[in-house]
Point group: D2
């Protein structure tokens, strides 16, 4: 069963000096979502170069001029109402994995999987290798790491999240990714939108490769939920910043996100 969603995102900056920016705010077509309508407005209307990075993400390069700078995107997307739950789906032997997923077993900036071998094995003790292990890790995160959208911590790595025992969505995803990779399960970060998220914001979760395909997991939600729009994939948040200004931090003046359910396909 599919559903149609309308996502909207507006980010406002106050720029002091001309600032090169790389944005990643265009959702991508995947096997499970179809972008039927899209709008991408930049004000003022500076030149933009788009390229596709090594993960297949659409990236927009520009130089933001001094003054108010606004990025406003929207998309009408067909996506899955429910995510696939594949209890019992087996672990994929490493020698059988596609070349393209191997990179997602490596440790990365915010997912030091090499430090989680012991904890990961404790969590999944006696559980059949594969999907059920990832589900157990996801459950462990829900039981042990508080989802706190107002977490006071900044840009924690999985090791730090495990110590803080709380975090925003990206923090929980980072710890989930690190734990899965510690079991040699390819796992990647997803940035996107989730219909019905409270409070509404850009969201992050993770996908694990078991039983021959990617499966969605979201430790911030008590039940498996569909209604997701994928914007970008990467090893972790370092790869999928929705805006990256390379230099002194550039906090937006405001950021608003909305996701609506549409009751029919666009005409």
């Amino acid at each position: 069963m599919n559903m149609w969603l309308l996502s909207r995102c507006e980010i406002r900056f106050e720029i002091i000096a001309p600032t090169p920016l790389i944005l990643m705010l265009r959702p991508r077509n995947t096997a499970h979502q179809w972008i039927s309508r899209e709008s991408y407005i930049i004000k003022p209307n500076v030149p933009v170069m788009e390229f596709i990075d090594e993960y297949g993400n659409h990236c927009q390069r520009l130089v933001a001029p001094p003054g108010q700078f606004i990025v406003r995107t929207s998309a009408v997307v067909q996506t899955e109402r429910d995510i696939l739950v594949s209890s019992g789906a087996p672990f994929d032997e490493i020698q059988n994995l596609p070349n393209s997923v191997l990179t997602y077993m490596l440790p990365s900036r915010y997912c030091e999987s090499d430090r989680f071998v012991e904890l990961a094995h404790q969590i999944v003790e006696d559980i059949t290798p594969g999907y059920d292990q990832v589900a157990a890790i996801n459950q462990w995160l829900q039981n042990n790491i508080a989802f706190n959208p107002d977490s006071p911590y900044f840009q924690m790595s999985a090791v730090e999240v495990n110590q803080a025992q709380q975090g925003v969505c990206r923090d929980l995803a980072h710890l989930g990714i690190a734990l899965c990779r510690a079991l040699c399960i390819p796992t990647r970060m997803v940035v996107g939108y989730l219909y019905g998220l409270e409070p509404m914001d850009l969201h992050a979760w993770f996908e694990a490769y078991v039983g021959g395909r990617w499966h969605t997991f979201d430790p911030t939600q008590s039940e498996p939920r569909g209604g997701r729009i994928v914007v970008a994939y990467g090893h972790d948040a370092a790869d999928v910043a929705v805006f990256n200004q390379f230099g002194p931090a550039l906090p937006p003046v405001s950021m608003s996100v909305a996701v609506e359910l549409l009751n029919k396909a666009p005409e």
Copy 2:
């Protein structure tokens, strides 16, 4: 100077049996155009898979079900009002060409450049190698090959176009490409929209790589004209069919194309 264009395209088919289709109807962001709004409607609303081919084109795969089948796309695009004219820009020595453009010196299905070495050299005799050669070829096409949007010939290659001495836009582009490649100038096919084209339709032209960048040439127009929206690049029409059904010909029941000038940037 830039301009904002709104392109629209609607193609209707009557499908007899389920038909796998590959469409190439999503304009792409390039160094010289920015897609600010886009819509891509398929009726009935069958599943679509999008992938990016080896030329960077966005391709949509689907299976069209029996009955009326409609594809309707539109885009709001910022593009250049004028195309760059670089008289005197030099020929790029082959050893200095980027790896990525080398393939555009090879002969291809509809551009048998290996058969045009003599004619190409006749046309450009005494002309400085580079941009001016391509301009001379473009002028030669205008003088010698009639642009006939109602050409009775079907899917001619450059050799056949040269014999027929007339053709549709793609035919003229194929001959232009074959002649340029015969001079070792990388040349590629472009499919897209041209504002003000008479009669309005999807359009084809070519780009030649001289003076270190791609330059636009259009043998159907008496003056260099901007107002173009690039949909796809390829060696020739074989690579950039806007719809490809692999099997018995599938002529659309109707096809309508429109390009409007917008008087301001989208909000």
Copy 3:
């Protein structure tokens, strides 16, 4: 069952003026062959740049200086003694083909598959779609097109080969490819070495994608034979010239090829 082969190739040119060359003489590792030893000597020892093209081939760029110019390569390769024969393997429905093989259904410079729909269907009449169709086409080539290594014709396309009713290995491959593509079977050109080929030379054959994988076919051989070393893949000979000088023809002064069977693995 595997076997170890030693291939050697030496090409000598007499260069008049500095000549940019692109060589494609380094065999590639594939799912079915492993390059254990390799040597690539260029005399005189000019700078070489290697890149990997869109087909995954290893290409060597250089500028050959005036005078005698020699390229000498050798490789020790583990390859399959027998090629896979998959009688009855089914035709892959287009909608199920991997994105990466779609391009091999398109017509190309020397394989005008769009002109062979009728002939292809005549040849395979009543034959189960898939492997058996390709085998029938291969058999038809053996029965109808003479393999003549001394063919007087130069660089024929499939249409011309079909008229000439004879050709060198690449000509037979081109016609085989055009016929298979006319049936919507992805088919690609292979350039490489064949152990036991008479007379010994660089060789060309084709691969068709049926039953979910590439299968080898060689219309110059009366029986399916292994002992092959793949150097390069492409749509047709335009993509896989072992040397390409882009400009006036540059016939080698001499070219020698040898393939030996080794009786054990290299140490």
Copy 4:
């Protein structure tokens, strides 16, 4: 000025249970080195699949069987006797960087560049942005972090190396990379061979992108030295492990490395 080197590497494992391995031991052709001869022996002779990863590295996949397992490679390589020193080469403005180098400004597993902004700016205070900054960082590493090939620490990240004040070659490279990226200079890890290294071993260093090209830096050497053979590039050691077994550590029983100077080109 170029030189010819012969590199040799042999790694022996004792395998208990069948172990999937990914090796990265085949040097790659680059703009500055040419592999003229190569040998890659695996004993016992199990099947190997080679693929090219997203960094352009050649990776070999196999399953090592129980018992003694030996990998033995060698290569004859033409490389530069001296590395380019470009004092004064300017910092490349971010908006002018090629898309392909942007990823090398991101923090990575062992290079937490986001934690080094302050230290990096202290080190390069008053130094002209660009090459000279990287040279100052390299000098600072030589002055402050001891190169200790027998360092007792294991797999440190840049933060940990900075605390330990000593490390093996990869540790120094990681800290250098983190410091450069903190200045928005794209920087990548290199694994390879260095002629004359004491004690001889596989080696690691880094390259920084300034003045429009990659430049080599090696904090383990007191003077800029050429005689290098590049095997692989990556963000850091996570990407360029010469062997990766994904699971319990698999220390080699022995590993020997040699690099010889050849007094003439191979014939």
